[in-house]
């Protein structure tokens, strides 16, 4: 308001100077009181020159400021773009090459189960692809079980999903990715690949994009896989496993059951699973 008043008053200034204002004066207060004709013209032209110089300087300064602001903005955009590109490159390089494909005979594989359907012992593992303990279990004891008992027809080994809340959403997506791979008969290859890449201290390694890349690296039908993963086509199967885990009071991974008997891994370690298998085989008369 105060400013508006000030602006309203300004035009009155030359009018107040009245008769002293020379003809042709533009109304500037500085030019309003000349003493004689000639010097006043020189002064006016000097002042006009000054004012035009000041104007062009002002214009230059304004333009310079605009250029600086624009340059800073462009530099900021370029820096962020560079950071994003480098960040993505780092991410896309994150997945290693897939492990060698499973050598299990195809007739021993049924969705996420391996082994003969009529094997005397069933081993059920509740696991999470983002859990470090599950990773070491899958890469250690599970391999022994496969070689010694699954391939010999003694054990039917089934994998059940229990993606833990603290590992989500990565663990849930990984579980869904494994199911989508199972749909193409490649559950165990995806399982090995997921445990190769997951189960690290980072604990949330998988994004949908990364899982899609991994499926492509495994040579799966990517259109089918991508559609399956984005729709979580087998989400119900994953959730059914989670509900079963809850029903069995399983809340940590890996949790192992041998013929329905829970193995106390905390007390016996992973070797306890082998002991339990041997005991179950002995009970079945195959020890």
């Amino acid at each position: 308001m105060a400013q508006k008043k000030k602006r309203d008053r300004t035009p009155n200034v030359p009018r107040d100077t009245g008769p002293t204002a020379p003809a042709g004066s533009t109304g500037s207060t500085k030019q309003a009181a000349p003493k004689s004709g000639q010097p006043s013209a020189a002064k006016a032209s000097q002042s006009a020159k000054k004012s035009s110089a000041a104007m062009s300087q002002r214009e230059r300064k304004r333009r310079q400021q605009w250029i600086i602001t624009a340059a800073v903005a462009v530099a900021a955009v370029a820096l962020v773009a560079l950071l994003i590109v480098l960040n993505n490159r780092e991410r896309s390089q994150a997945s290693g090459t897939p492990p060698a494909p499973s050598t299990l005979p195809a007739d021993l594989i049924s969705w996420s189960t391996k082994g003969r359907a009529d094997a005397p012992v069933t081993v059920t593992v509740f696991s999470d692809f983002e859990c470090p303990a599950c990773k070491s279990f899958a890469q250690g004891i599970e391999k022994q079980i496969e070689e010694k008992y699954v391939l010999t027809g003694k054990v039917r080994y089934e994998y059940k999903h229990l993606p833990l809340p603290q590992h989500n959403p990565g663990a849930n997506w990984a579980a869904n990715a494994a199911e989508c791979a199972a749909d193409q008969g490649r559950f165990w290859d995806m399982h090995a690949y997921l445990f190769q890449e997951g189960g690290t201290a980072l604990s949330n390694n998988f994004t949908q994009g990364r899982l899609r890349d991994m499926a492509a690296a495994l040579g799966l039908d990517t259109a089918k896989f991508n559609d399956c993963l984005s729709r979580e086509q087998f989400g119900d199967r994953v959730q059914a496993d989670v509900r079963e885990a809850r029903r069995l009071n399983v809340n940590s991974t890996p949790t192992v059951f041998v013929n329905g008997q829970r193995v106390d891994i905390a007390a016996q370690g992973y070797q306890g699973v082998i002991t339990a298998i041997e005991a179950a085989l002995a009970a079945a008369g195959q020890g």
Binding site: K61, V72, V80, E90, P169
Partner: protein, 150 residues
Amino acid sequence: MSVQRWRPRLELALTLAGIGIAGYLSYVKLFGLKPYCADIGNCDAVQSSPYAELFGIPVAVLGLGAYLALLALWWVKQTNWRNLGELARTGFFFVALVGVLFSAYLTYLEIWVIRAICPWCVASAVVLTLLFALSLLEMVSAREDQALAA
């Protein structure tokens, strides 16, 4: 006009709020703790996602660094320390713009890639956006002032 009068104080308050948010998230990340999320969104999923690090440095720590830089630049521009006020103002604008753009990218990742929202990260994005808006306002008004003074 009142925004101009309050701008420096508002900038300082927002920068300190940003330091608080980024400081908390850095502490949680560096000590491997679970962030307090008040059941809104999934802070843990965002904080432990592969995108929470850039070149091995947690994004929260980078954010803290940016806020501390903004605080230093704010002080230099307000006190015109060693006549570096104008440079600091431009620097403040630059850091705020980088921050707001990177926050936009991180928010995109939260919504579309990680599919989990972390309220702390959203709060930081809002703080940076406001800081950028204030800094833009300052750049524009400073240009006008300088033009008038010339």
